[in-house]
């Protein structure tokens, strides 16, 4: 015992020992423990509320706040004594397990409810159809979600308490709190500001307390109330206070006020409601979105695709693509001269016969007569060109395949055989574009030889008839003209079946077209083209499914001009754009496309577009956002939850407080500037009006105030002599140039004359003193 006592003695120097009584000072650590419990509550409740408010899930907010806070304080109190800690955790575990067992169906259903709501939100965000929803045994979501919120909150209390009460490990706390909360944020669902603020305050408090290194009486297993302890090793050993509740509390209030101010001001200027307005998703998130979409729709299995897909096109093989993955790499390099504003199609695959449930189109090129595909149309247009008809033209296109499927040949409409190759191995294709609905190219004599429409071009598989008939019944287009049918189908698709690049995979035993039309009712070009092909056939219009690339006019205009190329070598005849130039266009997988070509007597086989445009992201300009910001009160006053705490109202309140805080800050700065400015102006006016003596005294007063601000010792000097001698001594101490004794005496005399005599000093004296003052 004596040895132990000896060990505790701290010798501060030979003959002076720090008394043991310094360690005997004690403070009640209960409040410190409760303060840590409060941090745990902020983080736990913040985390739970964050997720649920972001997804707008209703639950009993008040009950959760009360229970989670009580549990947080109880957990923190476990650290009062080592014995209490061990036994307490044991009792807590048993009690908690019992309650969880009793409420297992509620908790289970609550979890499923939250997962289902999350999946539904994800389904909307990713524009995918997710069928896998969990069955909730208890359907009252308000109760079940409340149970889960309490369950998660208590688990978080216990977990965070270990890290916060013991070591203030803010890093682990941040990870635990934000780990799952990234999910709603990923889907751009922002939480209530109340919970954001709670989390930020909790993390900030943990960080500040951790940085201070004076937060815990539980450094060792010995739990005592000592105020001071020895800390550090060797030279760095110091006598440090263990904790001080008043300091911790005042620091906590300061930090909370700071965080609250930042949240309020940020939200006032960048409201979360308009934060993402006009924002275009970054490419990295875009890349992950496709993967996450696939994961949501098909699970892990979705990542193991059994077939290739280039921009969603797969040689007539349908239904195997959950979502289109674009790499935006160049597939074809096309050189051509633009001649009108219309889309240029490059055909690669022509599907004539649809194979239901196999979900494939049979390639026309596999048929014997495929070499005559479009030959009559091309011949007719060629003749028209050679006859010098008004709307006829001859064009040459160069295509280099750099990344597209090598099995296919990519050809524009109405090409003429043979296809040449240049020195570089590029396909040089001569074609005769149909311009201004060129009717002069008469087709009859050419069709007579080859027979243009085969029975397959009007065939609808038996398995698809019901779905197609159902759609046709909805459209009611019998006995309508071909153009009306086209327009109506387009309109129907546009209004009723949304476009998405993540439609999800067609289930294994389902038919692609039937599933698209009757169940999924969303898709990309291959879906629309396949369904429209059968629908056109239903109305007696010969139709074929085509895959390839589509180049839009604006894409052509963004191409590079090819120098040293003669326009006449590549184009001759009518051009709606006048004489243009040869342009090189990089065609990527984003340009891969599927469309329908239908047959008409006037034009023969020609492409028609049935894919609706994708959704245009709504953008909001600054003034609209500003308008929303200033007139948001009506929109924000929805009652957020059934628990009595209005989440939206709190957001609005925080925003208003933010504006008020900012206004106060601005006013304070202005007042401060005014005070300085006003004082300066008053001084200047008085200075101008003052006599020479008064001017010198005023100038010296300012000089003295300025010096005294940084040198408290200077304030102790009571008269001119003492003050000036002090300044001179200080300058000398710093080995800087200063005034000699004569100059000092002169200055003192002048100041005393100016201060105490009626005799005015001269301007020269004034100037000299001012100059000398500068040397002090």
């Amino acid at each position: 015992m004596a040895a132990k006592k000896e060990k505790k003695q701290t010798v501060v120097c030979e003959g002076i020992v720090l008394s043991e009584s310094v360690y005997k000072r004690e403070e009640n650590r209960l409040l410190t423990i409760l303060l840590k419990g409060f941090i745990v509550y902020l983080l736990s409740m913040g985390s739970v509320g964050f997720y649920l408010s972001a997804l707008d899930i209703k639950y009993n907010v008040l009950l959760c706040h009360v229970v989670i806070s009580i549990m947080a304080f109880l957990c923190a109190l476990l650290y009062y004594r080592l014995l209490v800690e061990n036994l307490g955790y044991l009792v807590l575990l048993v009690g908690f397990a019992g309650i969880v067992y009793l409420l297992r169906y509620y908790i289970n259903s609550g979890f499923y409810a939250i997962v289902n709501i999350t999946v539904q939100n994800a389904s909307e965000y990713f524009e995918v159809d997710i069928q896998k929803l969990y069955t909730e045994v208890i359907t009252d979501r308000y109760i079940t979600v409340t149970c889960v919120a309490l369950f998660v909150g208590i688990v978080m209390d216990v977990f965070l308490n270990v890290y916060i009460s013991r070591r203030m490990q803010y890093g682990m706390a941040v990870f635990a709190v934000l780990f799952l909360n990234v999910i709603p944020l990923y889907m751009t669902e922002e939480p209530s500001l109340l919970y954001s603020t709670m989390i930020l305050i909790g993390v900030a408090l943990a960080y500040v307390y951790k940085s201070s290194r004076h937060y815990s009486p539980q450094i060792s297993t010995k739990r005592n109330n000592r105020v001071f302890t020895e800390r550090g090793r060797g030279k760095n050993k110091e006598l440090a206070y263990v904790y001080d509740i008043k300091a911790l509390l005042s620091a906590g209030i300061f930090v909370a006020a700071l965080v609250f101010s930042v949240v309020a001001v940020v939200n006032a200027f960048w409201p979360k409601e308009t934060f993402n307005s006009g924002y275009k998703m970054n490419k990295y998130k875009e890349l992950t979105m496709a993967a996450v979409g696939t994961l949501l729709v098909d699970g892990i299995e979705g990542f193991y695709r059994s077939s290739e897909d280039v921009g969603g096109m797969n040689g007539g093989r349908l239904g195997d693509v959950s979502s289109i993955h674009l790499d935006h790499q160049t597939d074809l390099v096309v050189q051509m001269t633009p001649y009108n504003y219309e889309r240029v199609y490059l055909r690669a695959f022509i599907g004539e016969t649809y194979n239901p449930y196999e979900n494939t189109w049979t390639n026309l090129y596999k048929l014997k007569w495929a070499d005559r595909d479009l030959t009559p149309e091309a011949d007719a247009l060629q003749e028209s060109y050679e006859n010098g008809d008004a709307n006829s033209a001859k064009a040459v296109m160069s295509i280099r395949n750099v990344g597209a499927n090598l099995e296919n040949t990519y050809l524009p409409y109405y090409y003429s055989l043979p296809i040449d190759k240049d020195k570089m191995g590029n396909d040089i294709i001569t074609y005769y574009p149909r311009l201004e609905e060129n009717k002069t190219a008469m087709l009859e004599k050419y069709y007579g030889e080859v027979g243009s429409v085969r029975p397959e071009d009007l065939e609808i598989p038996e398995e698809n008839k019901e779905a197609i008939a159902g759609l046709a019944e909805e459209l009611q287009l019998e006995d309508r003209s071909e153009q009306m049918v086209l327009d109506s189908v387009n309109e129907y698709f546009q209004e009723n079946i949304p476009y998405t690049i993540r439609p999800g995979r067609t289930p294994g035993k389902a038919d692609f077209i039937n599933y698209f039309l009757t169940e999924n009712r969303k898709g990309y070009c291959a879906h629309y083209a396949s369904a429209a092909t059968l629908l056109f056939r239903y109305y007696g219009i010969p139709a074929r499914y085509v895959e390839g690339y589509a180049i839009d006019y604006n894409q052509i205009t963004m191409g590079e001009l090819v120098e040293d190329a003669e326009y006449s070598d590549y184009y001759d005849g009518y051009s709606k754009l006048g004489e243009t130039a040869l342009v090189e266009i990089n065609v990527t997988d984003a340009d891969a496309h599927a469309w329908v070509e239908i047959y008409s007597k006037e034009k023969g086989w020609h492409p028609v577009e049935v894919t609706p445009a994708g959704e245009v992201e709504e953008t909001e300009d600054f003034w609209t956002a500003f308008d929303r910001f200033t007139n948001d009160s009506d929109d924000d006053e929805e009652d957020g939850s059934g628990g009595g705490i209005s989440v939206s109202v709190s957001d609005s309140l925080i925003k208003k407080i933010g504006i008020a805080l900012f206004a106060i800050l601005v006013v304070a700065i202005l007042l401060f500037l005014c005070k300085i400015g006003l004082a300066q102006i008053v001084f200047m006016i008085r200075f101008k009006r003052a006599s020479m003596n008064d001017r010198l005294i005023m100038y010296y007063s300012r000089f003295r105030i300025k010096r005294a601000r940084y040198d408290k010792e200077f304030l102790k000097c009571l008269n001119y002599r003492e003050q000036l001698l002090y300044l001179v001594a200080k300058r000398e101490q710093k080995q800087k140039e200063t005034l000699n004794s004569d100059e000092i005496e002169y200055m003192i005399a002048m100041l005393e004359q100016a201060g105490f005599s009626n005799c005015q000093i001269s301007d020269a004296d004034y100037q000299r003193v001012i100059k000398d003052m500068g040397r002090l």
Binding site: T10, V12, C13, I16, H214, A240, D244, N267, K285
Partner: protein
Amino acid sequence: METIVRIIIYGFFLGINGLMFLFLHSHFYFTFFVLMIMAPVISILCAALLKRKLSVEITVLGENCAKQHEDVYFQIRVKNPSFFISLDTKLYIEFENTFLNTKGSKVVSVPVRMLKGYTFEIPVTPSFPGIVKVCVAKVKIKDLMGFWYFGKKVFVAAEMPVVPYRRGTFQYDASAVEQGMLESEESTKRGNDFSDVQEIREYIPGDRLMSIHWKLSAKRDILMVKDRVSMSDKQLVIVPELWSGSLQMLDMVLASAYTIIHTFIEDKTTVRLVYWSAKRYEYDDIRIDYAEDVDRAFIQMFYEQPYSNPNEAAEHMAGVYPEVRSYLHVAPGQDDVIIRIRENG
């Protein structure tokens, strides 16, 4: 180093946060990011302002002097009139026994509360007599986020004289002292005062109560004292050697002298404490009549410096005090103090 590590870790978290914000473009992460940018700036700014406002005071608690081996309490008040807080302010405290010229330092970490600061006591136990001086040389204020320390020189000090303890039993030639000092004892024993009044003057704080001329004071309505001059040249003179060779031996010399003086004072014998001032190269001669004078005499002695010659004080006695025939010499010995009557000259 700690600060650098903290800044690196903070930078890492800031980077992660920034990446999360760029990736998710979330309002929450944006707020978090702004907070992470703003917080260090505000934290450092507050610490800088706190530095300007902060002041330190140090006082010593208790009586005018303390006893050796008993605790002395120095109260340090870190004053903060501002709203700014620091959870870790380091006070660089220097401890010194100015008599023995021993020095040491200690860093004490305290909080600085809003508007109040912090007050605490540093209890020290002096092992040796002398003047214990505690000085707060500088403070270092750490900002709330722990990124920066702001140093400030303060130089506030307080001191407490520490008088020796009384030795219980120790060996010295008591018979010689009795014989040698008999005459002196007789001449200076109180109630048998052979001294004459030299002058009567006004009371000055510090004057002995014994010297007050009560009758005259009552008449004049102001305290008057009698200045006495001893008529006898035979007085009990104690000469301690303030040898710096060994602090332990010096401690024993002082304790022995202190004990002897107290013994004589209790026996109502006035003594003269004569010690050698190495600073001024002369003796200091203090007359001690009462017990309260002993501490004062020793405190005065502690403003001197010990010297290296173990016989320094005795060597000059004959030259400076030829009239003193003998004195009690308290000098360092091999293992213990040597106390003996020395004939002067």
